[in-house]
Amino acid sequence: MKGRLFLDRPRAPAPRWAKVATFTLLLLLLSLICTGVLLGSGRQWQAVWGYRQAFWNGWLLTVGLSILALVGSTVIGVLAALAKRSEILVIRYLSTLYVEFVRGTPFLVLILLLWFGMPQITQQASRLLVGVLALSLFAGAYIAEMVRAGIESVGASQRESARAIGLTSLQTYRYVIFPQALRHILPPLAGQFASLIKDSSLLFVIGLPEVTYTAQQINSATYSTLESFLPLALAYLVLTIPISLASKVLESRFRFET
């Protein structure tokens, strides 16, 4: 092999046969390993299969939870980004405080804080509510920064142009800034949504019966670790891979040169 591991210049395109050969070889190797692991002696697929309904329910809860938090975090993120651009100091500082607090705190700590803190204020807390709230607040802070950066990526000359033709500020955001900012926001936003789905797994600590929690229960019941957690990984992948594909499609739809 004369290929170098790291390059300081654009690499030359690989020949087609090399791509096909490498891909096939890797696929073969991985299949061998997987087959060995999956069908090896002592695998108790039968035992785990009995819990498929519970697993499915857990997965559905993860999906529902993620969708709610996706909407919640987007609303929070956009509002926080707009607040950060406000002329009113209090609003601006509050937004900064929120973003910096959440970004500087581990998600696990935020979950625990909400789970044990909320009952002291509201007398009671539901796992689902705390879960959705924690996810929305956590992702919202990151989304706020993405939206802010996206808005700022639209040049001053565009705002001025919008002002000159007589658009109001609301119209300027709607017709000029957001459509252009979206191009910068979309790729990291898709990544954030994928993170949000993955982060929801941490909610198992408060006993929310989403898919990770369920997989753990199945593991405890059957002592079949790989058989419980490999499907778990797949359960997340079927959600996150379509998101990154969708983001690529959307990205090309919004593409235009400035």
Binding site: S161, A164, T168
Partner: protein, 241 residues
């Protein structure tokens, strides 16, 4: 058209862009603002366009004083058309959508679509109507910007160095359009570096230097017999090459 400015001043931090700009002029078609870079002509134009608040002084256009509050300016800006140096089209919209945006959302014309198509036709842009700015040449972009500013039937048109970001061939293309506007009787105020063009096209020239309007006279007079030493030096330097 009549413009009456008195005692205009505008600072950006420690930089005094305009110190005391006072002039009064009446012209049929075209007023050209010329002068050295950094002399304050763009600031003057931006105040006339209602995009900048003066720190002091007053502006009266066609007998109506401009009130410098954001609400009043928003209304004032709807009556005029502004064309900038460059980058003033919306890159995510097609040429036609760029024209439609103010027609539909600011002016609420019921015949917005036909107005947009007429304006595109007038500037020979119909074949380019569905293109985005990145697919147009610099000259075509500037023609779209002019079409957008004119589609709303503005009282007058303000242009801030409309050709300075263009190469010579495209400059000629845009200057032709401006000359046509003059023929069509469209009143316009323009900041320009094209002295030959200013001399040929403008009725009146205002020479802006060091934050003040040093001279404001008919174009022929000004170019043949500049009165102030500053204007003489400026013209000599430019005509040297």
């Amino acid at each position: 058209m009549t413009i009456d400015c008195s005692g205009l001043a505008k600072s950006f931090g420690a930089h005094h862009a305009l110190k005391d700009a006072t002039f009064r002029t009446t012209f049929d078609h075209t007023l050209a603002l010329i002068g050295p870079s950094g002399g304050g002509k763009s600031t003057l134009m931006r105040i006339l366009a209602g995009l900048e608040f003066p720190d002091a002084g007053s502006v009266t256009v066609n007998g109506k004083p401009i009130e410098y509050t954001e609400e009043k300016l928003a209304v004032y800006r709807r009556r005029i058309g502004v064309v900038f140096q460059s980058f003033n089209l919306f890159p995510h919209l097609t040429a036609r959508q760029n024209l439609l945006l103010p027609l539909e959302n600011v002016h609420h014309f019921s015949d917005a679509a036909s107005r947009a198509d007429q304006a595109l036709e007038r500037f020979r842009l119909t074949p380019h109507a569905e293109k985005k700015p990145s697919q147009l040449s610099g000259g075509q972009r500037q023609r779209v910007a002019i079409a957008r500013a004119l589609a709303i039937d503005p009282e007058f048109l303000l242009m801030d160095e409309p050709t300075s970001a263009l190469d010579p061939e495209m400059t000629a293309e845009v200057l032709d359009v401006i000359a046509d506007l003059r023929e069509a009787g469209q009143p316009l105020v323009l900041v320009t570096h094209e002295m030959g063009f200013a001399r040929k096209t403008a009725d009146v020239v205002a020479f802006v230097a060091e934050g003040a309007v040093a001279e404001c006279r008919p174009a022929e007079d000004f170019f043949d017999r500049p009165e102030t030493p500053g204007a003489r030096r400026f013209l000599e330097r430019i005509l040297k090459y």
